[in-house]
């Protein structure tokens, strides 16, 4: 195994050795690579910077100075955008919906994933097959009947009710991810605790859960991005403006006041920046979790 692990790492090491042998051609190659990456950087980040700049300009400067940073900081844009777009209540709605959905998701998905990974019982294969099949059925194609079911259950315009719907739509993938984490845990741990007389639930909560924390973090991150950013289901189920989430608020603000660009950019910054900051703060775990899931398969 030590022999097998080495080559994986030495690909990086090989790359790191290369500069020593750099000729004129090698230098040109590296310059080309960085030039291409710089282009990607501009294409990705400049539009975002442009929004940030725009949010701090006056309306006149927006037209006279399209490209550059603002000459003075018009923070009033943010106060106005906050007030006109009703940002406060939208943020409350988004936090309420996303927060409850994630709590429901973890509470429901964890025992299910544990049972599928560690317990032998009749019908286990069937439950697993249903979970995999459900991953292939995107909830969007069932939007119309979902709307009717939610209406029959009285969940339209009900933020907690919509949280249950979000939890359900994230459930199959989350169970699948968590199950793969539970499967890798050694059986000895559990056996020892069983000998000591611990129940399955106690084992799950006190022994297994702390060990699959990276898996729980992964489904929380995926769930957060998915639910916090979702427009479609919110558009379908939250029809009343007083309970609408941030994405719905942004769209209606945009449609009503599409000439107030500076305020618009301010609203976009208020809603986008926090998510980007959270991502940058924990990008290591984020990308590690993502690629571990995908590359291992």
């Amino acid at each position: 195994m030590s022999g097998a692990a080495e080559p994986v790492l030495s690909h990086d090491a090989g790359a790191a050795r290369r500069p020593r042998r750099l000729g004129a051609r090698g230098l040109l190659e590296v310059a080309g690579i960085y030039a291409a990456l710089a282009l990607v950087l501009i294409e990705t980040l400049y539009p975002l910077l442009w929004v940030l700049f725009g949010s701090l300009k006056t309306k006149e400067e927006m037209l006279s100075n399209i490209w550059g940073p603002p000459s003075s900081l018009v923070l009033q844009n943010y106060a106005d955008a906050w007030r006109i777009a009703g940002m406060g209540s939208r943020i409350v709605s988004s936090v309420l919906v996303t927060g409850s959905a994630l709590v429901i998701l973890v509470v429901v998905a964890t025992p299910c994933a544990y049972a599928l990974a560690r317990l032998r019982f009749p019908g286990r294969g069937l439950v697993l097959a249903v979970a995999v099949a459900a991953m292939l059925v995107p909830p969007q194609v069932m939007a119309i009947p979902l709307f009717m079911v939610a209406r029959d259950l009285g969940l339209i315009n009900n933020r907690l009710g919509v949280a249950f719907v979000y939890a359900a739509t994230s459930l199959p993938l989350s169970v699948f991810i968590l199950r793969s984490f539970f499967v890798t845990l050694p059986a000895d741990l559990e056996d020892a605790a069983r000998v000591d007389g611990a129940s399955r639930l106690e084992i799950l909560i006190h022994i297994m859960l702390p060990l699959v924390r990276p898996g729980v973090a992964l489904i929380l991150i995926f769930g957060f991005i998915e639910i916090w950013n979702d427009f479609f289901l919110a558009f379908l189920l939250l029809r009343d403006p007083s309970v609408q989430t941030i994405p719905l608020g942004l769209v209606s603000f945009f449609q009503q006041y599409d000439s107030l660009w500076t305020l618009y950019f301010a609203a976009l910054t208020i809603t986008t920046l926090p998510v980007i900051v959270v991502f940058l703060a924990m990008q290591r775990q984020f990308i590690a979790g993502l690629t571990a899931g995908a590359v291992k398969g």
Binding site: P7, V8, H11, A15, A16, R18, V30, A36, L37, V40, L41, E43, T44, P47, L48, V51, M62, I66, I104, V108, C112, L119, F121, L136, V137, P138, Q140, V141, M142, A143, I144, P145, L146, M148, V149, L153, A167, L171, P172, G197, S199, R200, L201, L204, N229, F231, F232, P247, V251, W261, T271, V275, I276, F279, L280, Q283, L290, A294, V295, G297
Partner: protein, 310 residues
Amino acid sequence: MTTRSQKAAASGRSDPWRFLAGDGAVAFLMILPAAILFCLFYLWPFVNGFWLSLHNWDGFSDPTWAGLSNYQRLLHDRIFLGALRNNLIFVVAVVLLKNVLGLGLALLLDRALVGRAFFRAAAFVPVTMSFVAVGLLWSWIYNPVFGLLNGALDLFGLGGLKRSWLGDADIALYSIIVVDVWKWLGFHAVIYLAGLQTIPSELYESAKMDGAGPLQRFRHITVPMMMPIIFINTILGLSGAFVRNFDIVYVLTKGGPNHATEVVLTYMMSKAFQEGAMSYAAAIGYVLFLIVGLASVGLLALMRRQRLDV
């Protein structure tokens, strides 16, 4: 219930609840909450939707049996067929571009010696943004009068290429495709990058000694070694491109001009909520489900034939 089964599990053979005592009862209780949630918001709508598509119902009055007539009407609905065509163009273009550009970007990132983490994070930022934010940002970039894109074309003396990017029926769909690729490129590149880093460098070294050029090494080492990752990226891109385009199309064009960017989901939603044709819209959802299902199953079968166990 939990305590009873726990007691039963603890006290063993003499207990009358023995049949519940093993892992079966515990498993049942542990799966129950998930099963309830699944039945309410997955299974019920799924079954109900099929029933609905076989009736005529506006959502309020009494439903009447319609048989397959909703599906037959779809075959002659020119707007629906146009939306389906747009949707397929969208899927093919988006999946191709995300894979080719994603792999290209990953190769660049793999070679970057300094600042790889920085470039990788930067490329990933749009993935974390909502489609609404991305769509609204790009509606300003594409704005024919004040937009960044036409401004940039002016700046480089390419004023002749200026367009109403979302207002011109011939190119609006492609403008939307660019936005979708922009948002997801970093996601696919990061997965490709992780795959590239699992290829042992010995393979490249020995190929080099045998005199293989960079292109040959890419064709004979990188591509075959990356096949599983290419499939993963294709599956991820495929399911996303079929059903996750409502947000972006709704924000950018609402399906216009004159249905030029209409996709299946936008058409389904406008049928349901602007015209109240609930059962017709449900049938549209089922057709889309069938297409996505067939595409996924086909791709999985192809993977199995290639012996790619992913």
